[in-house]
Amino acid sequence: MSTLFDVPGPVARRRMVWVNIAATVVVAGIGVWVLARLGAKGQLDAALWKPFLTANPWTNYLIPGLVETLKAAGISIVTSAVYGFVFGLGRLSSSKIVRTLSGGVVEFFRAVPVLLMMIFFYLGLGQLRIIEPSDVPLVAVVLGLTFYNGSVFAELIRSGVHGLPKGQREAALAVGLRDVQSLRLIEVPQAVIAMLPAIASQLVVILKDTALGVIITYPELLDAARRYGSGNGNILQSLVVAALIFIVINYGLTKLAEMLAGRVGRRTAGKPQAEAPTLVTAIGKD
């Protein structure tokens, strides 16, 4: 915060104590008001919260739901990585046709809402009957997440390679490597390391988006919380608990991303980036 103001002197410090107290009162006041409203509606009754201290909601609803959520997220991460490598390398290909084609695919799937894709795959796979009907929601969630996040990964690899100093490629060619070898052995590994922080923050997006599965009847954590809550009359409490589970996991992933950003600097010639590149900035730059 040192960019905006000087180190405060005695007068400013005294003034800040008062402002701080006033602000605390306001912030705490809002908190108390919300709690009072909740209390008045009976939402703070111990009977509604206590069940979460017992085993039943966890063993029968929340943990199986969380397992499904992590399953969908885990599979999606692997498939997105594969997809990202294929199309990321496609965008870096020396053939113009491959480059344009991969570019079009990547930009298209980054512009289409994930939910739209999930609904399409859910209804489409249901129609085709090529997989077990009980697997359809999971596969639809994974496919929707893969097409979107894989495209983001592809974009990360491309911009990571573009962010490397020119000397890396020149040196690779000078020691006799071919184009493809230079990409595979020198450029892409460094690009991936530089992009690790951005990749880690994209994992948060994948985990959060698995919750869209509830709309296509995938029995993930949100669905489990909703079923438990509406069956026991504590839907509000149940949703809060589910949200807290997501927050704890995602907070850990965010911290991991920050830690990576501080660490990978020495292991790559590229500049570490914490976020995915902007949509459509890449159009017309190839």
Partner: protein
């Protein structure tokens, strides 16, 4: 693909009002964008302010909201705020759901607006603030005349990203029972399963047509406004 197919596909558009569904998404995006911008700016000011309690409140809000899935927030707005707490934003059933969805979209994206603005503040070099202090400006004049104008220019691109994400996320309003594009797509596919691919591509193209111009506009705007250093 013969004539009959195309005609049958086009006849779907007489039966279902696709444009009206997209119009709902655009309206959701519009109102949520304004609310999120206001709330996000307040949060950003709180987070860069010299008052510790405000900084804490701002960063707690951002940490909680940006790590919660939007779908949970949407379901919470309808089942929790309306269903349990009786929060009614309009006597009309449909309008009520619409406004609850706008509320959910706004509180979620405000956290991202706050981060975008903060990243804009980070693009301003320390030398600017030091120079402002050196010529005798105190906190508020320095912030108003030197820091914030440059910060807003630096945050156009990340704000554009938030707007794009918001546009796509307006489909999640389906979880709050708002009749919008993704819901209509589902209905249309269930009605005519044989042309599922054509229906999906129509809706996907609709979003590409909305999102790509936003991306191009904010990218060129951010280039034009960029402070050259």
């Amino acid at each position: 693909m013969d004539d009959g197919f195309l005609q049958q596909f086009l006849s779907l558009f007489d039966e279902f009002d696709v444009l009206a569904a997209f119009w709902v998404n655009i309206q959701l995006t519009f109102y949520a964008a304004i609310l999120a911008l206001v709330l996000g700016t307040v949060l950003a000011i709180m987070r860069i302010s010299p008052v510790p309690s405000l900084r804490w409140a701002g960063s707690t809000y951002v940490t909680l909201l940006r790590n919660t899935p939007l779908t949970i927030i949407m379901v919470f707005c309808v089942l929790g705020l309306w269903g349990q707490l009786g929060l009614t934003l309009s006597p009309d059933f449909q309008t009520n759901f619409f406004r609850l969805a706008v509320l959910g979209l706004s509180v979620y994206h405000a956290a991202f607006v706050c981060e975008a603005l903060r990243s804009g503040v980070n693009t301003v070099p320390v030398g600017q603030a030091e120079a402002a202090r050196a010529i005798g400006l105190s906190f508020w004049p320095a912030a108003r005349l030197i820091i914030l104008p440059q910060a807003f220019r630096g945050s156009v691109a990340p704000l554009g990203n938030v707007l794009i994400a918001l546009t796509k996320n307006s489909t999640v309003a389906a979880a709050a029972s708002v009749a919008e594009a993704s819901g209509l797509m589902k209905t249309m596919i269930e009605f005519r399963p044989d042309v599922i691919l054509a229906i999906f591509l129509t809706f996907a193209l609709g979003f590409v047509l909305i999102v790509v111009p936003i991306g191009l506009a904010t990218t060129s705007l951010s280039r034009r406004l960029a402070v050259s250093r």
